[in-house]
Each structure stands twice: as structure tokens, then as C-alpha cells.
Symmetry: C2
Subunit: 304 residues, 2 copies
């Protein structure tokens, strides 16, 4: 299986605590690094992941609240100081465009790399980026301002070659790529060996959904049906459900209900309110609804 990891840089909410940094995650998909949100201190905590700055190709921001974006100017500056030359793509609701442009104009002039802002329509569920190995889809969220989560999904890979069949038929190396791509093999004697006998099916397509800062969204059941891992904010416990409603956040139980409706593989909770010294209460409430739940924490690496 190729790499598909999620590293938690920060999973707190707006108020700083000794336990949590503000929101930031890194998705490492086959050594391409995607950043999800970029709270203050992200560049300082980054090095604990052991990942290389230079492999960050895209940053996906969910919304224009400081605890999700105040680390971006420092990160962009530092990559410039470190000699980055590859362009960087920052995606997010258009409400963040002036923030990125202001940062570039006032603090990052004369860098050796370019930063491109790509506006995401936070009201639409659609594919906003793809390359050879993945697609990224927007997930409209319900918060106090335009906000969207992201669904990252591998593209189907090629089938696996059955080594023993290749050896049996004496198939030369040059033919392997054709077979992987779907071709049958014809032996020198004229016998046609069907592609299906020479291969096993490709790896299952894996996916990760990042749902930060939102009230429960019913459509998530359809959009994220069967994802392997869902991160869903769980700012509050049930006792503070009125706060969740007032500030457009979710309780842990609501997050679990979303995960259950979407039949996800696992649910990771985060964006914890500073009021919880111990988030076990959140975990317990969620598990009553969806058992396969765990808590995010700084430094956690989850393999999908």
C-alpha cells in the first residue's frame, strides 16, 4: 500500500491552551504533502512531523477565522527563506483571497517562488483539484461564514502483476506496463492469456474527509459515504449543546451521528473547546453513537 497518512499539527479551537495548537493537519499521500488549515504556530510545530517543507504542494483552508489561518504568513515566509522555488497553491473560500494577497504584497515580496490563490466555492460540493493520484472535493460546511471542508480521495491505481504467472509464461519485462494497463498477452505460440489471469485487482481506493468548524451537515452522509477516515469537529459536549448551536459548531455526539450516517471507517474528533481539561467526555459521548471513534492530538499520525 502506498502512503496515505494524516499528521495532526494542531486540533484545538480558537483559545490557546497548554494542550492544543490551533487547527492544522498534514496529509501525506504518496509523499505529496497537503496542508489542511494553518493555525498560528504551525511552522514551529511542523518539524516534529519529520516531513520536508519542500514537499508541501497545496494548502487547503476551510475559512477565514484566525485559528485556521494565522500560521500561513509565517509558513510562506519561512519556505521562502529556505530557498523554495516550486510554486505553492493555496485553496480556500474567496473570503481568504485578500488575506493571502495582502500577506504576499506586504511580507513576502521578492521571494523565489510563487503563491497562487485558488478560490473555492464553499457552497458547492465539487472536485476542486486533481492530479494523477488524487482528487480533492469541497464539502460545504455550515458555520458563521463561508466554510468548506475537503474530501481527499485516491484515484484508482493499476492492477497488481501476478509474478508467478509472468514467470510461468516467460513474459518479458517490456510487456509488463501494457499488461498493467489492461492488455492481454499473446504467447509466441499464439495463445492469448487474458489480462485477468495475469493480474490481481488494484488496491482499494482510500479517502479522508476533513470537516472542520461546522454544524452537522445532513448531506455529508452522501458526500462522504464510506470514507475510510473522517475528521469531524467536536467542539462541545452535549452539556454545551446550546453553545454548539449558537456558534455553529458540533457536539461530539452530533459528529458521531454524521460519521454513522456516512458509514465511515473511523472517526477522529478534534477542534476541542479550551474548557475541556480532559476530552474523554467527548469521546465517550461520541462512542455511544459511533464506536470506531478516537481523539485527535498533536503529533498523532494516522495511517489510512
Amino acid at each position: 500500500m502506498q502512503k496515505f497518512d494524516v499528521h495532526i499539527i494542531g486540533c484545538g479551537s480558537a483559545l490557546p491552551t497548554n494542550r492544543h495548537l490551533p487547527s492544522c493537519q498534514v496529509v501525506d499521500l504518496r509523499d505529496k504533502l497537503l496542508l489542511l488549515d494553518c493555525g498560528e504556530g504551525a511552522q514551529l510545530a511542523w518539524r516534529k512531523t519529520g516531513l520536508s517543507w519542500q514537499k508541501i504542494t497545496h494548502i487547503f483552508l476551510t475559512h477565514a477565522h484566525g485559528d485556521h489561518v494565522f500560521g500561513l504568513p509565517g509558513l510562506i515566509s519561512t519556505m521562502g527563506l529556505l530557498g523554495r522555488t516550486a510554486p505553492l497553491f493555496v485553496h480556500g473560500p474567496s473570503t481568504l483571497q485578500t488575506f493571502v494577497e495582502f500577506t504576499m504584497a506586504h511580507f513576502c515580496a521578492n521571494m523565489d517562488y510563487e503563491v497562487h490563490f485558488e478560490a473555492v466555492d464553499a457552497s458547492q460540493h465539487q472536485c476542486i483539484f486533481e492530479d494523477r493520484s488524487m482528487e480533492v472535493w469541497s464539502l460545504p460546511l455550515k458555520h458563521r461564514l463561508p466554510c468548506c471542508g475537503y474530501l481527499i480521495r485516491e484515484k484508482p491505481g493499476l492492477p497488481h502483476i501476478r509474478r508467478e504467472m509472468i514467470d510461468f509464461y516467460g513474459i518479458p519485462t517490456w510487456a509488463i506496463n501494457n499488461i498493467k494497463a489492461g492488455k492481454d498477452w499473446t504467447t509466441p505460440e499464439g495463445e492469448t492469456i487474458p489480462h485477468s489471469r495475469l493480474t490481481t485487482p488494484p488496491d482499494r481506493v482510500r479517502s479522508y474527509a476533513y470537516c472542520s468548524d461546522t454544524m452537522p451537515v445532513a448531506e455529508m452522509a452522501e458526500w462522504c459515504q464510506g470514507v475510510d477516515l473522517m475528521y469531524h469537529e467536536a467542539t462541545y459536549a452535549e452539556a454545551e449543546a446550546d453553545h454548539a448551536l449558537k456558534y455553529c459548531h458540533s457536539t461530539a455526539r452530533q459528529a458521531a451521528a454524521v460519521a454513522k450516517a456516512a458509514n465511515v471507517g473511523r472517526l477522529m474528533l478534534g477542534h476541542f473547546s479550551a474548557r475541556y481539561e480532559d476530552e474523554q467526555v467527548l469521546l465517550n459521548e461520541a462512542k455511544e453513537v459511533f464506536e470506531n471513534t478516537f481523539l485527535a492530538c498533536e503529533g498523532l499520525k494516522t495511517t489510512i
Copy 2:
């Protein structure tokens, strides 16, 4: 003696390291807190000082480089979340005005307190702020853009009452404040006791100079003559003197020469380049010129 402490929140330079945060200091003068610069992560490291957010009255920024200001938006937001109502005054070169205004407009609307930006003419040495107990003077620095340090000086206090003389003459409590303010005392028998016999001189006026991001400035010898403590950037060792020149910074030895010319009490070095795993080389080079030198480090509290 009343409180006059300097707390180091961060004393690194632009590149983040595991050892240092970017520039930020707190001056605690009689329980009024002044922030000097506000690098990224300042609000996260703040709590280690044990000081109260609400006592920050003024922030003095030296210049518009990210490692000196990227922590400001988060700090302002967090104080708002924590219910601050007292106005906050942010001083700095006019190049920072749009940064503060942008932050307020895009991320800090609807807070319960006001943030006022006060432009400082970075080319002039002048008093830019005073209250009952202190004066703050700008210190024009030589960097790659408008940049100014700050000199914080106590105002002279009142003389101390000589308790034994008060008792000897039976002077009533209601007269004490007049005597402190300079009045003589006339006994019921008509004898005049001069003020000077009833008091001892006020505490010596103390001062702190913050010189961040600058080449050596000759005028500092005059502007900072005799200050108790000077913080001076020492980004490089002598071996990297060409870098200091190129990027408009100082070597540790140059910082020491400035301190010596100004006859300061003590010199604190900071703004260390990330290349020094151990800053002892900087300390050694400075001490050859000015013995009473020490290194800043995160968490250090220096009493003046």
C-alpha cells in the same frame, strides 16, 4: 524598588528553530505590561510568563518583518475572545498601519475593545509615549526598512519619607503627602523643619533600551547613555560579519561596542541566527569588548 522586569518570550531570528521563538518581549513596569514586538507563537508562549493578558496596555513594534509581527493578529483576537474591554495601543512605523488595520477589519470585527494604531516616525529620536510613571522614546535603527527600537525610562519618583524623623517631630499622617511633594514642615512651636531633613532622595530612575534588527548606530551612545539594561541584536558572530553587513544586522562584537560606548549597565544579546547551535561564541566575542553581557533565552526574566 518598584517592579521593572523584562521577560523574554522569543529571541530567535526569522528562521524557526527548536531552541528559539521569533522576537517578543514583555516589559513589566509597576504591573503595567508593554509588549515589544510580537512574533508568531507569542500568545502561545505567553502563559509561561504567568502574567495577565489584561494588563497589556501598549505594544511597540519595531518594523514590518514577519518574525516581529506575525503573532499580533492571534494575540489581538485572543484578548477579544477573553473579554478584554480596555483599549489597546499599538505603536510602530507607519509601514505597519495597514497590517494592523487589515487584521482588525478582516479578523477582529465586533470585538468588545478598540485597537488604536499610533504611527512612530522611525527616523526621529523622540518621546512617543508617556504616562505618570514612564516615558518611551523611539530609537532610530538602521535596517532594510523603517525600523525603530525603544527606550523605556521611569519618571523620577517621589522622595522617601524618613520614618524616624516623622516620629521624632510627631508629624501627622495627613501631612506626609505634602512633605513627599516637597513641602517643609512647621512644628506647632513654629520651627520649620526643611524637607531635606525629613526625606531621602527618590529611587534612581531606571531604563531599558530595546535595539532589535539593526546595524550598529553611533548615536546610540548618546541616546542610551547610562541605561541600566540594553537588549541589542547580535544575529551573527564575527566570522559572518559580511552577512551582518549584507542584511543590515549586527555581530555580537558590534553590539558590545555599542553597549560600551553607551556605558550601559548590562547588555543582553538576542535575535540569534538559526545557524548557531550554541550561542556561546556570540557571548565570548561580545565579552571581549563589554564584560557585563549575557544571552537572552526564552523564559528569562531580568529585573532592572
